[in-house]
């Protein structure tokens, strides 16, 4: 451009650059302030106003699957964000509705069913502790894809582990085994559950099977964690035995590990498989893993969600 054009005052590079920079800074800072101050209440209301999945699907036209992805990410964010927050009272209320919308928009969204069920069953404070919702979600998945034996197995698992209804668990494992293409060990798992469900050995077998048949790291790691918890339970059984012998000998329960060590019932301060010492609570006579341990809470000891 030759110089014969008279530039207005605002076009001079210095003025223009400063003006643009100022405006951009205002845009970003107003967004930041608004987000910091109002994000929580906005999120709350926005999620309160959860639209109906079917309606949303119709409105999204051919972009259902994409919208399903968006809602799945929101579900993950809601679960992960709530779990990690420091607040006293955690509310996972919206996890169920979000997962419902995701799977209505994309009924074949496998991950949403399986992982969604896992998140829903996690006990408070790590999750909402709602096995009923998880089972409903998986049944919805079965409705869509009746040949997915994994869903049947997952339901059976929930009955086994979280609801301790071994008859129902065995039933569902059996159903899973009947689906063509299912893993060969499901039938024996069903039989085992019926015979000795609830025993630590059958739990150990279950988790071992899950570990070996898992197709992703997350489930494998979870299986390892559960197996380690079972290991800790075995350890605690041994320690209780030692404490019992102390009582028979001394007439009173031990007050600390030092006493037990001094009396020769344990070699040193016992640590759990992750390396943290077990906690001996002399006031009510319990031995447990430390609350700081990764293995806390041990199975059978999840806290109830707040009323």
């Amino acid at each position: 451009m030759s110089g014969s054009r008279s530039a207005s005052w605002w076009e001079r590079p210095a003025v223009f650059a400063v003006a643009m920079a100022t405006l951009v800074a205002l845009v970003i800072s107003s967004a930041m302030v608004r987000d910091r101050v109002y994000a929580a209440s906005r999120a709350q209301t926005q999620l309160l106003y959860i639209p109906d999945g079917a309606v949303l699907g119709r409105m999204a036209l051919s972009f259902d699957a994409l919208l399903a992805d968006v809602y799945w990410i929101r579900a993950l964010q809601h679960y992960g964000g709530t779990k990690r927050a420091d607040s006293e009272e955690k509310s996972y209320d919206l996890l169920g509705p979000l997962l419902d919308i995701t799977t209505t928009l994309d009924p074949r969204f496998n991950v949403a069913y399986r992982f969604g069920a896992i998140f829903l069953t996690e006990g408070y404070p790590n999750g909402p502790g709602r096995p009923d919702l998880a089972i409903a979600l998986l049944q919805k998945g079965i409705g869509e894809m009746p040949d997915k034996w994994e869903f049947y197995m997952d339901i059976g698992f929930i009955y086994y582990w979280w609801l301790q209804d071994y008859n129902a668990a065995a039933l569902w494992f059996e159903k899973a085994a009947n689906v063509p293409g299912a893993s060969w060990w499901l039938r024996s798992l069903a039989a085992n559950t019926l015979a000795a469900g609830g025993s630590r050995e059958s739990s150990r077998t279950l988790w071992q099977q899950i570990y070996e048949s898992a197709d992703n790291d997350w489930i494998r790691n979870e299986a390892v964690r559960r197996l380690t918890q079972l290991q800790a339970l075995d350890d605690i059984d041994q320690l209780i035995g030692a404490a019992q012998r102390f009582i028979e000998q001394g007439g009173r329960p031990p007050e600390s590990w030092e006493e037990l060590i001094g009396a020769g019932f344990v070699a040193g301060v016992p640590v759990d498989p992750t390396g943290l010492p077990y906690v001996l609570d002399s006031s009510n006579g319990t031995i447990n893993v430390s609350s700081a341990s990764e293995l806390f809470p041990l199975p059978g000891e999840t806290l109830p969600p707040p009323q």
Binding site: V27, A31, M32, V33, V37, R42, T45, L48
Partner: protein
């Protein structure tokens, strides 16, 4: 009267006589009135449905108006070359941009006002027709003044969309400008999810990129307070002020950019 207001008034006159605009507004009003009938089908949820549908219709039709009038006024004018005779008058190029924008905003305001009046008329009728005790069951009164806040934010959002349309039409063809503007509108509504990315992805680079995009791309979701208003959740003036300020700054940047591009370009 200075040049910019004259151009604005001309833009308004030209738009108001546009048949497309007429039909859009008419359709919106019909939809709002029809929402009353739709509301009758859902037991006990009439008011909510009318408010939802009414605000939604205002939003969607307002969007179409904003984009088509916005594009038509610069992009189409450049394409049809009616801009040549205008530029030969003692009008500076940036005055043209500002005048166009002012006229567009005026047109938009009038159209939104018409739709808001229709909505309030239906709600007012609803309120008048129902019994007192039924009215008590509503979360918020039918003719809740908070709805005006919702309409105001819709209008503000559309002012931003209009600025985007105007910006693109200073250098793109009408079709491309329309596509880009609609595209940014859709992206703008899911912008907030970009912020969630850092909780979901592992790589910090991706997270930073997502954050940067979140701030640069227009974030249109905060302008939608339908949920709050329909469920009678409070909306503070501070929130409205911040959101409006965001829009004002963004519009300022877009207009400045548009003025710059428009002043420098050749009209081949």
């Amino acid at each position: 009267m200075a040049v910019i207001p004259r151009i604005a008034v001309h833009v308004f006159k030209e738009s108001v006589r546009d048949k497309v605009l007429y039909n859009l507004v008419l359709f919106a009003v019909l939809l709002i009135v029809a929402s009353y009938l739709i509301g009758q089908l859902t037991a006990g949820q009439e008011v909510k449905i009318i408010k939802d549908l009414g605000l939604g219709a205002t939003q969607v039709f307002g969007l179409f108006i904003a984009v088509f009038i916005g594009i038509g006024l610069v992009s189409k004018e450049v394409e049809r070359r009616s801009i040549y005779s205008l530029l030969a008058k003692p009008v500076r190029r940036h005055e043209l941009i500002l005048g166009k924008y002012a006229g567009l905003v005026l047109t938009l305001a009038v159209n939104i006002a018409v739709m808001a009046v229709a909505l309030y008329a239906v709600l007012g009728y609803m309120s008048w027709v129902e019994t007192e005790e039924f009215r008590q069951s509503w979360e918020a009164p039918a003719t809740d003044p908070a709805m005006l806040l919702a309409v105001f934010l819709v209008f503000t959002q559309l002012m931003l969309v209009t600025a985007i349309a105007l910006f693109f039409s200073t250098f793109s063809s009408p079709i491309l400008s329309a596509v880009l503007t609609f595209g940014l509108y859709v992206v703008g509504h899911f912008n907030a999810d970009l912020r969630n990315f850092e909780n979901v992805v592992d790589s910090p680079t991706a997270a930073y990129l997502a954050r940067a995009l979140y701030y640069v791309l227009p974030n249109l979701a905060p302008f939608d307070i339908r949920a709050e208003v329909v469920h009678a959740q409070p909306v503070t003036l501070g929130y409205v002020a911040l959101t409006t300020g965001y829009a004002a700054a963004y519009i300022g940047a877009l207009l400045l950019g548009a003025m710059f591009i428009f002043s420098r370009r050749d009209f081949k």
